[in-house]
């Protein structure tokens, strides 16, 4: 066989094998993003997917109980009750009024069952705007991280 053809076959085998693995990995881990408003209008088939939702944690809604943490997410006036059942400790930045990203599936009782919760961290940190805080001149105050 010509050298060129040999290399072609070798490269082809690698590319096909990797594409197959990518397809398997995609099937195992694909997760749909939805807003809370979208989530509430999903049909039963779409609700079977693993999904990721973002929102602000309603202040005072975090309730710890054995084996789970319940809280409410809010986004554009819509709310969603969430139960976190994962084993990882919740991030330190997960507090009332913080932004959080939850990943999991809808539960039978209307609550969203999250296996992972991410809250704002390091480079995303932003001081909460308060009433006494002024704005920089000449520009709107922007989030800094």
């Amino acid at each position: 066989m010509q050298n060129r053809a040999k290399f072609g076959v070798g490269i082809g085998v690698i590319v096909v094998a990797m594409s197959f693995l990518a397809w398997l990995g995609y099937g195992e881990s694909k997760t749909y993003y939805h807003t809370i408003a979208e989530y509430q209008t999903l049909n039963a088939l779409d609700r079977a997917h693993r999904m990721r939702l973002a929102g602000t944690v309603v202040d005072g809604s975090i309730k710890h109980s054995s084996g789970r943490v319940d809280f409410t997410l809010e986004e554009q006036g819509k709310t969603l009750p969430v139960s976190y059942v994962g084993s990882d400790p919740l991030p330190d930045t997960f507090v009332g009024k913080s932004q959080a990203l939850v990943e999991g599936r809808p539960g039978p009782d209307g609550r969203f069952v999250a296996e992972h919760v991410q809250a704002k961290c390091a480079s995303k940190y932003e001081a909460a705007p308060g009433g006494d805080k002024p704005t920089p001149s000449g520009a709107t105050q922007q989030s800094s991280m």
Partner: protein, 686 residues
């Protein structure tokens, strides 16, 4: 100082524009004074950026709370150490820091080559000025770090306002590694601008031969070293600070830092094909272009919020600027390539599947596939939304499925590649070079099996680690033996002498050894275990060979935070081993102000990683979460060897009295053949 800083930034922008436009005129006219003045404008741009950066630090150190940036990222009680880090803890400051580090590289290039490479340098200067213009546009007009606070008074008029104190630095950033991780990573990102500028300049100027590769080799290695170190320090920070027990989560921002590293590593290998055989010229130029574009893309992903990440900067307006810059850069690269592609014709063809060339080819193919996989996985939410209206993300299983086999294949080539001859390798040579490494690899795998590491991928990884390790040992041994025979030096001294005579080659082997250590650490991830328990004082918990006993809890007040600390006794085989102190800190000045301090007992065998996870709400007792992570320490040790290897490769070769030749074209790379008396040493061609 804020007005002064703002003014210097503006002046830097003006100088960069002059260096760019004047540089183009200098290329057209070749007027010596114009060439000189644009170079000096380039130097002035860098100096002005240095001054502006120091101005921000001055404002931070003097607690100037009339400044929005200082208020957002510092407070009075913040230690000096972290006030330095506050520069890159926010969007505006980190972009200025990008410009600062880029300027360090640019000023070095402009000064080092001020009287050299006269045909090439005006092109290089224009390209570097173009990159600076982009970042200075952001620094001046989009994310200016010198915004002052103002408040609307009773008459409805804006007036200056000074806060009593600042919001403080994010607690997660108040960790020593956060002071050194971003500078390393940014130094990697910015450093790849130099090989990019030289590659594009050589293409535009049709600069003869492979000289641009020789000129940029060391710059590329420096950038690569910083990038490697930055990635490892970032992983260590995530491990030691975030309290989740892991060091890599395939987060978009982590992926963004890996992308240019993958193409940069491919480039460091494939340049040897061009140097030795005049092959892969188009490939090399595009690898450099892609590495630079991926650096910009990484910066864009981190700051634009285009993909959700635990790290990404929020609510940013800079996305369109980055997209425009990426588009313009890609267009210029493509146009330059189309116009001058005949300049990049390959001089040779591949001769055999079993040759050094083919090992480089497959090495590059694997790095490229890895890069495409990571890039597509990272941007999957964006693309899926474009094409299907559904925003879909992929997680760790997707990345692991592809990256584990690729990593193992690259590890295999790490051992095989250096022992294959250029053009063609004989069967005899294969037997001679690979017999012992295979035996050592098998012994290593059997040993690992009996030690309990019984997982297919991990065993294969440990087999390959031992295999590669022995190929490296053999390479040093063969070379040192020849020097020992000629000089009578000890074996250790001969190995040292050997390394100093061809620093690039043997530095490369040391880097490979570092990668072996990293892979040993990664192989341990399959055996991680964890336990969690709500514990009263005196309660115990077992994890692997360790028993954890909660002895007591206390509270300590420091200047900038108050810590609630658990005192955990660690026992092994019923004997006291040590005390661990996991804690939670409540910081002052910030609103989301809690921080976790993990306590780690680290050995070569495993890490006992203990987190105080907070109070159990029902029992009102502390919850201790412990992880047992085997072999993690090897990853950090690998990082140290990678840096040492790169430093060795950066050193100039020592000229030996007996002289060293480059590897003969058709032989294996045995150093015995390379040590031919009377032949002058050529620097770094292996």
């Amino acid at each position: 100082m804020d007005v002064f800083g703002s003014f210097t930034l503006l002046l830097a922008f003006v100088c960069a524009v002059y260096a760019f436009i004047g540089g183009i005129a200098a290329i057209k006219t070749r007027h010596p004074l114009l060439v000189k003045s644009t170079r000096q404008a380039g130097i002035a741009t860098c100096v002005l950026i240095f001054i502006a950066t120091f101005a921000v630090e001055y404002l931070l150190f003097t607690d100037n709370f009339s400044q929005a940036y200082v208020v957002s990222h510092s407070n009075r009680d913040l230690s000096a150490f972290y006030k330095v880090a506050a520069l890159w803890s926010g969007q505006e400051g980190s972009l200025l820091f990008w410009s600062f580090l880029l300027s360090v590289y640019i000023i070095s290039v402009l000064i080092v080559y001020r009287n050299k490479n006269g045909e090439l340098m005006p092109y290089v200067g224009v390209i570097l000025a173009g990159v600076q213009i982009f970042f200075l546009t952001l620094n001046n007009f989009v994310e200016n770090p010198f915004k002052t606070l103002a408040i609307v008074n009773a008459n409805g008029v804006l007036e200056p306002f000074t806060r009593m104190d600042g919001n403080g630095l994010n607690p997660l950033l108040q960790y020593p590694e956060m002071v050194i991780h971003p500078p390393n990573l940014y130094s990697g990102y910015t450093g790849f601008t130099i090989p990019f500028a030289f590659a594009l300049a050589a293409l535009l100027a049709r600069y003869p031969g492979e000289k641009w590769i020789h000129l940029t080799r060391k710059w590329t290695m420096v950038a690569w070293c910083f990038q490697s170190l930055g990635i490892l320090l970032g992983a260590h920070w995530a491990y030691a600070v975030l309290g989740w027990g892991g060091y890599w989560g395939w987060d978009p921002v982590e992926n963004a830092s890996l992308l240019p590293w993958l193409t940069g590593t491919a480039f460091l290998h494939s340049v040897m094909m061009q140097e030795k055989r005049g092959m892969m010229k188009v490939w090399n130029v595009w690898l450099v272009f892609c590495t630079f574009l991926l650096c910009i893309l990484g910066t864009f992903l981190t700051r634009s919020g285009v993909v959700s990440s635990v790290h990404a900067f929020a609510n940013s307006h800079i996305g369109p600027w980055f997209v425009a810059f990426l588009g313009i850069t890609l267009f210029v690269c493509f146009a330059a390539y189309v116009k001058n592609r005949d300049y990049l014709k390959s001089e040779n063809m591949l001769d055999s599947m079993v040759s050094r060339e083919s090992s480089f080819l497959f090495n590059n193919l694997l790095f490229l596939i890895a890069c495409i996989a990571v890039l597509s996985g990272t941007l999957f939410p964006v693309f899926s939304e474009w094409f299907t209206n559904n925003r879909i993300s992929v997680g760790a299983p997707f990345f692991n499925k592809i990256m584990i086999p690729i990593g193992l294949a690259i590890l295999f080539l790490t051992g095989v590649g250096p022992l294959l001859a250029w053009r063609k390798t004989s069967a005899d040579s294969l037997k001679r070079n690979f017999g012992w490494p295979l035996i050592v690899g098998l012994l290593g795998a059997v040993g690992a099996f009996f030690l309990g590491y019984r997982n297919g991928a991990s065993l294969l990884c440990l087999f390959l680690c031992c295999f590669v390790f022995w190929t490296i040992v053999e390479e040093f041994y063969r070379g040192a033996k020849v020097i020992k025979a000629r000089t009578g030096m000890s074996m250790m001294m001969s190995a040292h002498e050997l390394s100093m005579r061809n620093t690039r080659r043997y530095g490369g082997y040391v880097v490979h050894f570092g990668m072996v250590l990293v892979f040993i650490g990664l192989a341990g991830a399959a055996f991680n275990s964890e336990a969690q328990k709500a514990m009263n004082i005196g309660d115990s918990m077992k994890l692997g060979p360790y028993t954890l006993v909660l002895q007591s809890a206390d509270t300590k007040a420091e200047k900038n935070y108050t810590a609630q600390r658990m005192i955990v006794e660690v026992l092994k085989d019923n004997k006291q081993l040590m005390m661990l102190y996991p804690e939670k800190r409540q910081f002052q000045g910030t609103e989301q102000a809690a921080g976790t301090m993990v306590a780690i007992y680290s050995t070569l065998q495993d890490d006992l990683y203990v987190v105080y996870a907070g109070m159990d709400p029902e029992a009102n007792v502390p919850v201790i979460h412990a992880f047992l992570n085997p072999l993690v320490k090897w990853i950090w040790l690998g990082g140290v060897w990678i840096v040492m290897g790169t430093l060795l490769a950066l050193m100039p070769n020592r000229r030996a009295a007996l002289g060293v030749a480059t590897v003969p074209e058709t032989s294996t790379s045995t150093v015995a053949q390379a040590l031919t008396p009377g032949v002058t040493l050529r620097e770094g061609h292996d």
